[in-house]
C-alpha cells in the first residue's frame, strides 16, 4: 500500500477497522452531515442510489458497530449518535473523503471482505489490553 499523504493515522485506522465498503462510508458521512436528521432505509437507498436491501444492510452494519443509533420503530429509522470523539474523527474523515477520495477507496477495496474479518474476530474471546 502506498503511503497515505492526506490523512491522519486515526482516519486510516478508523477506515481499516470500521468501514466495510465505500457505500458504508458514504452512508455514515451522510448521516453525520445531516445530524440530527432521522433517516429511513428508503431515504438512504434513494440518497446512495442503491437497492433498498443493500441500504438496510449498510444501516444495520453501522448500527451493530455503534456508529449510529437505531430507533426501534417500524419501519426502523436511524440517526447519527453524536459523541465528542466521534464528531472530531468524522470531521477528519470528511476532510479525507473530500481531498483523498481515490486513496480512501483504494484502501477500502484492498481490505478483506467483512465476513472474512468477522470470521477471524469471532475467535477472539478475550478483551484487548488498552494500548497507551
Amino acid at each position: 500500500m502506498s503511503e497515505p499523504r492526506g490523512f491522519e493515522p486515526e482516519v486510516q485506522q478508523f477506515i481499516l477497522e470500521q468501514i466495510d465498503s465505500v457505500p458504508h462510508l458514504e452512508a455514515l458521512l451522510l448521516l453525520w452531515r445531516s445530524r440530527p436528521k432521522i433517516w429511513s432505509v428508503a431515504d438512504m437507498a434513494a440518497s446512495l442510489y442503491v437497492p433498498a436491501e443493500l441500504a438496510a444492510n449498510i444501516l444495520r452494519d453501522l448500527g451493530v458497530k455503534g456508529l449510529i443509533e437505531v430507533l426501534d420503530n417500524s419501519p426502523r429509522t436511524y440517526h447519527y449518535l453524536p459523541t465528542e470523539d466521534q464528531d472530531r474523527l468524522l470531521a477528519q474523515v470528511e476532510t479525507a473523503y473530500r481531498r483523498e477520495l481515490i486513496q480512501l477507496t483504494r484502501m477500502i477495496h484492498t481490505k478483506a471482505p467483512s465476513a472474512v474479518r468477522e470470521f477471524a474476530r469471532a475467535f477472539k474471546f478475550t478483551k484487548e489490553r488498552e494500548k497507551e
Partner: protein, 88 residues
C-alpha cells in the same frame, strides 16, 4: 483404541468450540458466512462423536455410513458458505 478415542473426543470438543464461537459471531455481526461455518463445525462435531460411538460405545453396529454422511453434509455447508459469502 483408547488413544484413538481420546483423539476423537478432542476433535469433537474442538469442532464444538469452533461452532459455538462462530454462532456467537454470527449473532453479533449477522454475516452469513459465520452461520454456514458454524453449522459445518457442529456437523463435524457430530461426525467425530459418531466415530467415538461407533468404535467404542457400540462396536457391534457399523456407523461408518453415518459418520461419512454427517461429515460430507457439514463440509458441503461450509463450501456453500465460502462460495457465496467469501467475497466482498
Amino acid at each position: 483404541m483408547t488413544f484413538g478415542a481420546a483423539v476423537y473426543i478432542l476433535g469433537a470438543l474442538t469442532t464444538l468450540i469452533c461452532g459455538v464461537l462462530l454462532l456467537r459471531g454470527f449473532l453479533a455481526s449477522r454475516k452469513r458466512l459465520l452461520l454456514w461455518s458454524s453449522c459445518c463445525f457442529f456437523g463435524l462435531a457430530i461426525s467425530n462423536l459418531l466415530v467415538f460411538v461407533d468404535l467404542i460405545l457400540l462396536p457391534q453396529i457399523d456407523l461408518y455410513f453415518w459418520r461419512l454422511l454427517t461429515a460430507a453434509v457439514a463440509m458441503l455447508l461450509l463450501v456453500w458458505g465460502l462460495i457465496w459469502e467469501g467475497e466482498a
